[in-house]
Symmetry: C2
Subunit: 219 residues, 2 copies
DNA sequence: TCTGCTACTGTACGGTGGTTCAATAAGTTG
DNA sequence: CAACTTATTGAACCACCGTACAGTAGCAGA
């Protein structure tokens, strides 16, 4: 009965799994979550229809693994940015914000896929769990840096509120790339984030970058 | 063949349409976009299975009308808030921000429904069109107010960047209500937005509200 | 009460798409 | 070159759900 027409090169399971995950992200960005079919994913990967169930058992698991992949990738990206940055909190915060607007993570394909998952996250605990845990680390890091800057610069801000605001602003700017895609570029969004930093922490940041010597508040 | 068991009170078409739209929002918040079925919507409304196709022709049109309903409702809400506010730009911006955190619009049910549509918006031009047009008016209003405040207060900010940042921050805070639903309340988010306003426009705002006499910059 | 219109019901149909599985090819080991 | 393992195929199956539609009931006007 079954007569495979074309003979494909076999690949180790992990290779195929990642290939299928990437195809899934592509299709999520193109068709959206609701219209995603396994046939589309398989075709995008250049493989046959049954391939996804072979490697992932079910559509549900494929999507969970895809989200996990994206979350891991993002987490590793900003962790590496932090490692490359200096020790001064101002430099670290600057690096963290800059990382969010790197083309590696801040592009339509990835953000569209993120947004597809967010749209379903409220009704699927497993998605919230995957995002939530890592988001917590990210916002904790932001909060820690904001606290240090506030103490260092003698600002009168509530550091936790500032951190939450910055976090929200970064997410909101990502969304802008999706919706005002015609008029907005990554560079514009980054400039907005930088403007925000210079307003909130004027002792530490200028549009050109981090101030070398952020002295104590002049009193 | 067909034997309707229970006899229901007839209603005028517009009444039933709105009832079905509200049921759709409920189901979007509960199950998400991808798992939404017309049977669920009908059952939630307490009506029979064929009712949606009778009033909306198709699932596609029901969803479009639902999004339009939400967009109209939100637009009217903040327009009314602006009308009730005074003439001073500071008062108007304050009112606009406060409106975003009113329980009428800032609650899990509505935001979950919004987020469901955002997740699909990238792949459906009709959704982008409906949101986009109204978002444009909203962000234009924000931009106008920010320009006035910057001029009035002698700030050195780029008003357009500040407006975009504020817009992003407001959207991002909405999302936080969905994702950190356990730890975050509407009041906390509002406090964060207020903190942001007081930092960006210290000549105009304090945590307590709008400064009555926002004088020119003291030089 | 008759007539007719409009709202509404519920079954049935048909397509779509996830899942299963037997068959088979590609490597791998001995 | 067997014998075996693992990856891959593609067709068949089946459940689900949107849609169509024939039938029915409420209600208004005469």
């Amino acid at each position: 009965m079954a007569g495979p027409a074309k003979a494909r090169r076999r690949q180790a399971a992990p290779v195929r799994r990642e290939q299928l995950i990437r195809a899934t992200i592509d299709e999520l960005a193109k068709r959206g979550y609701a219209d995603l079919t396994l046939a589309d994913v398989a075709e995008r990967a250049g493989l046959s229809r049954g391939i996804v169930n072979f490697h992932f058992d079910s559509k549900r698991k494929l999507l969970v693994e895809t989200l996990r992949f994206m979350a891991d990738e993002y987490a590793e990206f900003w962790h590496q940015a932090l490692e490359r940055a200096g020790l001064a909190p101002a430099e670290r915060l600057w690096a963290l914000v800059a990382a969010d607007f790197d083309a590696e993570v801040c592009n339509r394909r990835k953000i569209a896929a993120w947004c597809a998952f967010w749209g379903e996250a409220k009704s699927r605990p497993i998605y919230r769990e995957i995002c939530g845990e890592r988001d917590l680390i990210h916002s904790d890091t932001l909060r820690g840096l904001c606290r240090e800057l506030v103490a260092e610069g003698g600002y009168e801000h509530d550091p936790d509120r500032v951190a939450e605001g910055l976090d929200a602003l970064l997410e909101g700017l990502w969304l802008h790339l999706l919706f005002q895609s015609g008029t907005t570029t990554r560079e514009t969004l980054y400039a907005t984030a930088v403007e925000h930093l210079t307003i909130v922490f004027p002792e530490h940041f200028t549009p050109a970058g981090v101030l070398r010597r952020a002295g104590p508040p002049q009193t």
